[in-house]
Each structure stands twice: as structure tokens, then as C-alpha cells.
């Protein structure tokens, strides 16, 4: 086990199911020319997968 000190978080108080807030991703995406909800819905599915993968290692 590495015993390094924690370096702090990029995000605070994220709700369950979220790893990177959509609002943060929107800043990267810039202007969305089509339907933002389509992009958001698929983003959320992968967010959920990432979240469950991380918590899988804790909720053993």
C-alpha cells in the first residue's frame, strides 16, 4: 500500500452517479449544434458505468 497523503479533490459534493458533472463537460464541448439532450443522455449512461465501476471496489 502506498501511504501518500491525499492531494485534494477537483470536484466537491458530487451527487451519486456522477464522476464528472455534465456542466463541466459542456465547457469542453463548446457550442452544441444539435439536440443537447441526446448527447447528455448518452453521457449520463457512461457516467453511471464509471461511477458503479469505482464503487464496486468499495461495496464488496
Amino acid at each position: 500500500m502506498t501511504g501518500e497523503k491525499p492531494t485534494g479533490n477537483v470536484f466537491k459534493n458530487l451527487p451519486p452517479g456522477v464522476c464528472i458533472p455534465w456542466e463541466e463537460k459542456l465547457k469542453d464541448l463548446g457550442e452544441i449544434k444539435g439536440d443537447a439532450d441526446i448527447i447528455r443522455n448518452e453521457w449520463d449512461k457512461l457516467e453511471l458505468f464509471a461511477y458503479l465501476y469505482l464503487w464496486y471496489w468499495v461495496q464488496r
Binding site: M1, T2, E4, N9, L14, P16, G17, L52, L54
Partner: protein
């Protein structure tokens, strides 16, 4: 029993859910919580079921084909060992790698979260898990961002997706082809156990109750919405069947009653009540002895849990919880391992007569049935329920 599998599935589902609602179905449901025993039934080594996803699911299919149970718990192995190897996970030892090919897996507890991690954990546990916890429990992540760490992360995530897909397909097949219903959908934990099992460890959390009680309580409060969410998300949104909640450190006498009241119960109660508000019942898998806490558990909303009786005094459980909560259990695993079939029959008959007579009861072993159970004793359980368990 119907030969039409879809009709059989409905019969069993009605039987099980009626009991969970504290009612009287046509007979006492058989809900054996079986794991490694299935490998023996299927003729596989434990290495095979830990490492080979297909064989893991085949073992479950073989079990429900040969044994007339109403519900299934899961495939025999809860973990795909190859996915743990991919990331170099350190907290489980598996048969065929560190252990002999037919040896039960071992959990190697450690203090993978340090006392100084509490603030970061409380601020954002999801990020802390990725940036601090995984590099500690996954040897391949020792240098985050390195080639090895990046490949391991791809493999680990891909493996999880493969495992979930195959497991969903496999359990759907069990329902369709064998007419057996799941005992539960989704998994969650008591916040104290989330911290005490995989993060701080027993030694660490015992110290935290004395040294940093406020941080421990704050961390558990942060966990409440995550643990509610995790149960629902891992259940795929299902609210028909209960969420499995293996309960560990709350068993007596890990904690004294004052500690239990102060540290264990408040957030556990919130998780259960939070799930119940969303229509999801909790399968309160009370491993060990919970007798001193039955009165507190009775504070929960009616029918919000299925109380699994292991070493808890079943007379007191029946008296305090019976009629308001379904009880499940409690054939001693030692009896299944070393007893004779006639002794098993006597025990099961007594359970039916004394605890199941007015409904709200599911026959099960006291703990998860491992490879040491005798096949003739498991058959004796089922035969006895089929013979004497009709209402």
C-alpha cells in the same frame, strides 16, 4: 409444480413475494442462499468458477436444474478473479492463483483508507476512490498515468462490462429456462460496513469511534445517498425484489450496544428507510448474532426488510419482528456440513411448525452455503419443505 417454465416462474414469484409481504403463500418458499456449493454440484473446481465466467453461470444452472428451489441468490462466485488480476487487486486471494485450486477465496483485510483521508473522502468520495483508494488496492495503478496503469484501467472497466452483460444474460436464462426467481436485485451496505469492511478495516474503524468520531459520522452521512443509489442502480431500477445487504460489523459483539446505537444504526436506518421510500425492500442479511438489537430493528417501517436469521435468537426474532417483517433462515451450516439427513429434516420441520406456520417465512440456511455442505442434506431440506411446508 408446473412444467410450463413461465407459469412456474409466476408461481414461485407469487410464493416468494407473498412471504416477503408477511402473507401465507401456497407453501413455505425455499430460498437457499448458495454459493460455492454449486461448484461441487456441477463438478467444477473453485478455480474454475472463480476464473471462468461461463462455468460460474453453468454451475448456477446445474444447481437450479437439480434442486427444486424457488429463488436463486447468484452464481457461485461473486467475483470474476480475472478482472481482479487485470488490475492487480490485493484484497482477495483466489483458488488456483495464491490458493490451492479447491480452496475457498480469502479476504485480506487492510487499512486501505487512512485517518487523514477522511476530509477528502467526505468532500467527494467518488473522486477519492479513483485518485487515492484504487492505487492502494490495485498494484497495477501504483503509478497512475503510466502505461501499465492505463492498460489496467482499460482492462478493469472492460472486464466489469463483460461480467455484467454475461451475468445479466445468465440470470435471465435461469428465470426463463428453469422458472426460478432472484432472491434479490441490487446490492448495498450499511455505511458503517462500507467503511469498516473495505476502507478502514475493523481495527481502523474501532479506533475511529474513539479518536475521530465526528469524522466517522460525517463520512457515514455522506455514504447514505450513495448506498441508496448503489442499491437501485445495481438492481437496474427493479423494486420488486429486495436489495441484498450483507451486514457485518453490526453483529454482536463487534460493537457494544452504546456504540451500535451511536455509530451503526442511525445511517443504516436511513439507507433502509430511503430505499423503502423508493419502493425498494432491503434483504437484511444479518450475519452473526443480532439479538440485542431486535427492538431497534423493529423501528423500521413494516415489511421494509426481510430479516435473515443466522445466529440471532430465532424465538426472539419471531416475537419481536414476526408479522411485521418476513423472516428467512436459519438451518445451521454446521448441520448441513456434518449432520445427517434425518437431523436436517427434523430441524426444517421444526422451522415450519414453529416459525413459518402463520406465513412470512422463507426457508434458508443460516449463512451462505459453501462447498462443505453435503448434497444429501440440501436435498433433505427441499424434500422436507415440499412434504410439510404446504399451507
Amino acid at each position: 409444480m408446473s412444467n410450463d417454465k413461465s407459469k412456474l416462474l409466476e408461481e414461485r414469484k407469487k410464493r416468494y413475494l407473498t412471504a416477503l409481504d408477511c402473507g401465507k403463500p401456497d407453501r413455505v418458499p425455499i430460498g437457499l442462499t448458495v454459493s460455492e456449493f454449486m461448484a461441487k454440484v456441477a463438478g467444477f473446481t473453485l478455480q474454475e468458477i472463480y476464473y471462468d465466467l461461463d462455468k460460474n453461470l453453468k454451475a448456477l444452472a446445474k444447481f437450479v436444474e437439480e434442486y427444486e428451489v424457488d429463488t436463486f441468490f447468484s452464481a457461485p462466485s461473486l467475483w470474476w478473479a480475472a478482472s481482479h488480476d487485470a488490475v492487480g487487486a490485493v484484497y482477495l486471494k483466489f483458488a488456483g492463483r495464491e490458493l490451492e485450486p479447491n480452496t475457498q477465496f480469502q479476504y485480506v483485510e487492510g487499512e486501505f483508507m487512512l485517518p487523514e483521508d477522511y476530509d477528502a473522502f467526505i468532500e467527494n468520495p467518488t473522486e477519492w476512490i479513483l485518485t487515492t483508494y484504487l492505487p492502494r488496492i490495485h498494484k497495477e495503478f501504483a503509478e497512475p498515468g503510466s502505461y501499465r496503469a492505463s492498460v489496467a484501467l482499460i482492462k478493469g472497466a472492460g472486464a466489469r462490462a463483460m461480467e455484467l452483460q454475461l451475468t445479466q444474460q445468465g440470470t435471465a436464462k435461469i428465470m426463463e429456462e428453469y422458472g426460478v426467481v432472484p432472491a434479490g436485485t441490487g446490492l448495498t451496505k450499511a455505511p458503517f460496513d462500507t467503511l469498516g469492511d473495505a476502507l478502514r478495516g475493523l481495527k481502523g474503524i474501532m479506533m475511529d469511534m474513539r479518536k475521530v468520531p465526528d469524522k466517522l459520522k460525517a463520512a457515514m452521512e455522506v455514504l447514505v445517498p450513495h448506498n441508496i443509489f448503489y442499491a437501485l442502480a445495481t438492481a437496474g431500477g427493479d423494486t420488486e425484489f429486495p436489495a441484498f445487504m450483507p451486514l457485518h460489523r453490526g453483529a454482536y459483539p463487534f460493537l457494544n450496544p452504546r456504540q451500535w446505537d451511536e455509530f451503526y444504526w442511525p445511517t443504516l436506518k436511513k439507507v433502509i428507510e430511503g430505499l423503502w421510500e423508493k419502493g425498494k425492500r432491503t434483504y437484511f442479511f444479518a450475519e452473526g448474532d443480532w439479538t440485542p438489537y431486535l427492538e431497534r430493528i423493529a423501528e423500521l417501517p413494516d415489511k421494509s426488510i426481510v430479516f435473515h436469521v443466522d445466529m440471532t435468537d430465532i424465538d426472539k426474532a419471531k416475537k419481536i419482528l414476526g408479522g411485521r417483517f418476513c423472516l428467512k433462515g436459519n438451518i445451521p451450516n454446521s448441520l448441513l456440513a456434518v449432520g445427517k439427513p434425518e437431523e436436517v429434516r427434523d430441524y426444517v420441520k421444526r422451522l415450519i411448525d414453529e416459525y413459518a406456520a402463520d406465513g412470512g417465512f422463507v426457508i434458508d440456511a443460516a449463512a451462505v452455503v459453501q462447498g462443505d455442505a453435503k448434497e444429501e442434506n440440501i436435498r433433505a431440506v427441499i424434500e422436507t419443505v415440499l412434504l410439510y411446508g404446504k399451507y
